[in-house]
Every structure is written in C-alpha cells, then in structure tokens.
C-alpha cells in the first residue's frame, strides 16, 4: 500500500482521500438529506446506501429499537432498485467531489455481475459488495459466509471491472478465512464490520419487538467486537485496504480503528445519532494530531506489534 499523507489525508493508488472518515452505507441514505445538514465535500469518502437489482420495499415497522449502547435495526435494504439508482441517484453522488463507494448486494452472483459491469464507466472509485446484510432473507443461501462462493463470485466480478472492490463482512470467528477468499480472488480490501445480529424482546407481549425477530445491532456497544475484527485481519493481511466501521461516535473511536490497522474509518450509527458527528470527528482528529505533532501515518497500525 502506498500511503502519502499530510495530517489527515490518505492517498490510495492515486486516489486522494482528504481524511480517513467515510460515511458508511445505510444510515445516511444517498446523501441528499445529509448534504443539507453538513458539507459532504469535507468528508473522506461517501458510501451509497446498498443497491439491489430490483426495488426492495424493506421490512415493516418497527425498524429501529433502542438497546443499551446502540440500536437494533431492521431496515431490510429499502431501495428503488438498480435502474432507478443509476438514473436518479448516481449523478448526485458522482458530483459530490469526493471519492464515492457504491454498495451492492445480492445473493445471486449474476445480479452482482450485471450491476458491477454497468458501473465500470461511472465516476466512482470503489465498489462495496455487501455480503452481510442481516436483514434480508430472499433468494439463495448468502454468498458471504462461504469462502468458496466468495472466491468464485469476486473472481468473476474482478474480470468485469477496473474499480477497486471491497467486501463487507459481518463479524465472524472465521473472518480470516473469508477475507483470504476475497483477497485471493482479487478484491482490494474489506469493510469490517457490518452489524452483528441482535434482538430485543418486549416483556409485556413476551415476543420479539422486530417482526423478523432479529436485526442488525449497531452502535458503540459493538465497537470492541468490530475493532478486534479489524485488528486480527490487519495482523494477517498487511497490504489490503481496510475500512473499519462499528460504533464510531467520536475521534477517539476513530483513532482506535486507525491504530488497529484500518486505513479508513466508517461512520454509520453515528450519523443517525447526530448528523454533525462526521465533521466533528474530522475537526477533533486534526486537533488531536496537531496538539501531539503527529499525523495519520504516524499512528496507523501502531497498535499492531509489527
């Protein structure tokens, strides 16, 4: 990995990323509303809401339940489908003047191939293949928990595009094996991690609150888990791109991820908690580095005993 930095900027294969803060896929939608609240051109990168081939209505309410240290969400990849995304949404993202990641999901390799191919000529820098949404169950067995399927799917996708491919995984004991499959097939990196599954039971009705019983557990409570996934993967894979995400709500969280070995830090729940958080973190990081006369590269991976 060739990283050239000033205080916060990250250079990845000639792509200049202003700072390591990435808006993660999901909570910020496709940026239309968020751009009315904060200046998105100040963010490092923006990830689209996960797009599926066909329109997805998502899950019935309630979709969000408060739990200690975060929420359980059950959105269910609501989106208008790939064609609508290409004509209605992508032009907005292409004009953000920051590198954009388009997030894609399907349990069908053929659908992913169609979408990846169609995106190859568009002004985006990365594709995130979301192999791990906890909130959909349509279609075949998920690709993202089977190293063999991951390898063959990513291999096919790499043949169809020059874009950098990142694979998004949920926390898993076998994460090293899954990442190995993705990287050997040619993926540039990984996004660690998607929400682990969680649930909440209403003790009055004695039933799960969410209609699908479980959802994705997000928020500061999951950070120790996702941080460890980043750390363990970085220990094994020195040169891949890692976006560390899970429970980041302040600059200290972001620093932990960078020290664990994340090149970039994703913010999801934090944007819902307070849409101003990404900008606050960037400002706090800059101040933290300045006060200590340090910069991004002087802390990157420092928690690893390399």
């Amino acid at each position: 990995m060739h990283l050239k930095n000033n205080i916060l900027s990250v250079d990845y294969k000639g792509i200049n990323i202003k700072n390591p803060i990435v808006i993660a896929s999901g909570p910020a939608g496709n940026g239309e509303e968020l751009s009315q609240t904060i200046d998105l051109s100040r963010i490092g990168m923006f990830t689209s809401k996960t797009v599926t081939m066909n329109r997805t209505d998502g899950n019935p309410p309630p979709r969000i339940v408060d739990v200690y240290g975060g929420i359980i969400n059950s959105i269910g990849l609501q989106n208008p489908g790939f064609q609508s995304f290409m004509t209605e949404t992508l032009p907005f993202l292409e004009n953000l003047r920051i590198p954009v990641i388009v997030s894609l999901a399907s349990n069908y390799a053929e659908e992913l191939e169609t979408m990846v191919k169609a995106l190859d000529t568009r002004n985006i820098k990365f594709l995130e293949i979301n192999f791990s949404c906890p909130n959909v169950d349509k279609g075949r067995e998920p690709i993202g928990t089977d190293p063999n399927k991951i390898f063959h799917t990513v291999k096919k996708l790499k043949k169809l595009t020059k874009k950098n491919i990142l694979i998004k995984f949920a926390p898993a004991d076998a994460i090293l094996e899954l990442v190995q499959a993705a990287i050997s097939a040619g993926a540039e990196g990984v996004v660690l991690s998607n929400c682990p599954k969680g649930m909440k039971i209403d003790i009055n009705t004695m039933k799960p609150i969410l209609k699908r019983e479980f959802g994705g557990f997000a928020g500061p409570a999951i950070k120790p888990i996702t941080l460890n996934q980043v750390y363990q993967v970085r220990k094994q894979f020195k040169d891949i791109m890692i976006i560390g995400t899970g429970g980041v709500i302040n600059h200290e969280d972001a620093l932990e991820y960078i020290m664990a070995g994340a090149n970039l830090v994703g913010i999801g729940f934090g944007v819902m908690l307070d849409p101003f958080i990404p900008i606050q973190i960037i400002e706090q990081l800059e101040q933290w580095f300045k006060l200590r006369n340090l910069n991004y590269s002087s802390v990157f991976c420092k928690a690893q005993s390399l």
């Binding site: 939608g29 309410p61 979709r63 929420i71």
Partner: protein
C-alpha cells in the same frame, strides 16, 4: 446539534411538560421557527441514545414548551432532569400540516394523549379554521400539569375520542364533508380511519413511529402507502388516511 436549556418541568405519572430555552435565541421570528405538524429531534448531551422526535405545544420569544409521554429511556431521563440542564436539538423536520390541508375549509381537530401537543399548537395558529376540537386522555392525571379546555377523560366519561367525535358528527348541522385532522397513537389513527369510512369524512392523520435520523435518510420509519413506501419523518408525519395501506 444546537443547545437548549431545560427551564422548567412538571411531571405526572405518564406525562411531563417541559419548557426549554434556546442557548442562542434567534434574532427574530423565534416564535415562528417551527410550524404545526413539524417536530424537533431531542437528545441528551452524553448518552448514545438516538435523538427522539417531539412536537411543540407552543413557542415563545425564548424557546418552546413540549407535552411528552414518559415512555422510554430518553423521556425517563428527561422526567428526572433538573432545571438548567442542557439538551441538544435539531430540526424542525417534517411536513407542516398547512402543506397538506385545505385551509380554506374548517377542520375538526383530534388529539390523543401527547398527540394533543401538535393539535393545540395548530389550533393556536389557525384558530379561525377550527370547527371543533376533541383532546382525549385515558385518565385525568394530566390535569395536574395543564388545563386543556377541550379535554375529555376516558376514565371519567367511559368514552374514547372516537365516541366523542361520533356524537358530534351525528348532531353536526353543517354543509360540506367534515375534514378531520388527528394526532395520536397508531391504533387510534387506525380506528379513526375505519370510522372515517363509516361516517364519510376526510381524515388526515399525523403518525407516531419509532424514528432513526428524523430527516428521511435512514429509512427507519416507513409507512406503506398507495404510492409506495414513504417515510413518516420526511413525507409525513401527516398523511391523508385514504393513502395509507394500514395492513403490512
């Protein structure tokens, strides 16, 4: 998010009334910073609990007052907070009632529980438009906090707001199809919808759904409508009840 200071609060078993003052009041038009139907997202300063949506009961030169049902961790926290504590808010969000209602016509307004807040706020702004108002509470403990002239108490009368509305409509002697604007629990709104079909009135409901961001981006508060999935926070919270597909 912007800072507000809790100035005064009154708490009953189920509800609280809280007055907030802006830390930095607007230069002018403070009173008009939010329109009836819109809501603010409030959170405390330290805990990572998502901000929660609340309507205002009224506004003044320095801030606003809210009528809140004590129902979860944030409202519990607020009910125990002391005067002078700083909170954070953002907004206003949501579509104002005036954008969806025909204000050349008279409107019957209905509030259930803390759904009273946006209705009373609407009544204050559009008093000339109000044909009749019914504010319903399960019991009369709210009387310790606030005196609402239009209030009816189910525990005393045995009648729900729908019973009260029904009685009014049966005796109504006015030209034109009645128009009803209601805010309350989703079960109340759904019952009203059925009632509106029986009694042939036009119904607008302001819905209460668990929200995530409050601004339309997270897709956390869906409602199924005849024109697809909409977000309660951004496309609503008020909807023409004929547009809603209640069973999902």
């Amino acid at each position: 998010m912007k800072k507000i200071v809790l100035k005064e609060k009154k708490v009953s078993d189920d509800f609280l009334i809280a007055s907030f003052e802006f830390e930095n009041p607007f230069n002018d038009n403070t009173q008009d910073f939010i329109k009836p139907g819109q809501f603010l997202m409030l959170k405390n300063r330290t805990e990572p609990i998502l901000a929660k949506p609340f309507s205002v009961l009224n506004t003044n030169r320095n801030g606003f007052k809210m009528l809140i049902k004590i129902i979860g961790r944030f409202t519990d926290y607020l009910s125990n907070a002391v005067s002078g504590e700083t909170f954070l808010y953002r907004g206003p969000y949501g579509t104002a009632f005036e954008k969806k209602l025909d204000l050349s016509k008279k409107i019957i307004t209905i509030g259930g529980g803390c759904g009273a807040a946006p209705i009373l706020f609407f009544n204050e702004h559009y008093f000339e438009n109000i044909e009749k108002t019914i504010i319903g509470f399960k019991n009369d403990s709210i009387r310790n906090l606030i005196n609402i002239d239009e209030a009816v108490y189910e525990s005393l009368s045995g009648k729900t707001v729908i019973d009260e509305l029904n009685e009014y409509l049966l005796l109504r002697n006015k030209v034109g199809k009645p128009i009803v604007l209601a805010c309350g629990s989703s079960s109340m709104c759904q019952e009203l919808h059925k009632h509106s079909l029986e009694m042939n009135y036009q119904l607008f409901v302001s819905l209460d759904e668990r929200m995530g961001c409050g601004m339309g981006m997270c897709k956390g508060c869906p409602i199924k409508t005849k024109s697809g999935i909409k977000m309660v926070c951004k496309d609503g919270p008020v909807f023409n009840s004929d547009e809603i597909i209640w069973e999902w």
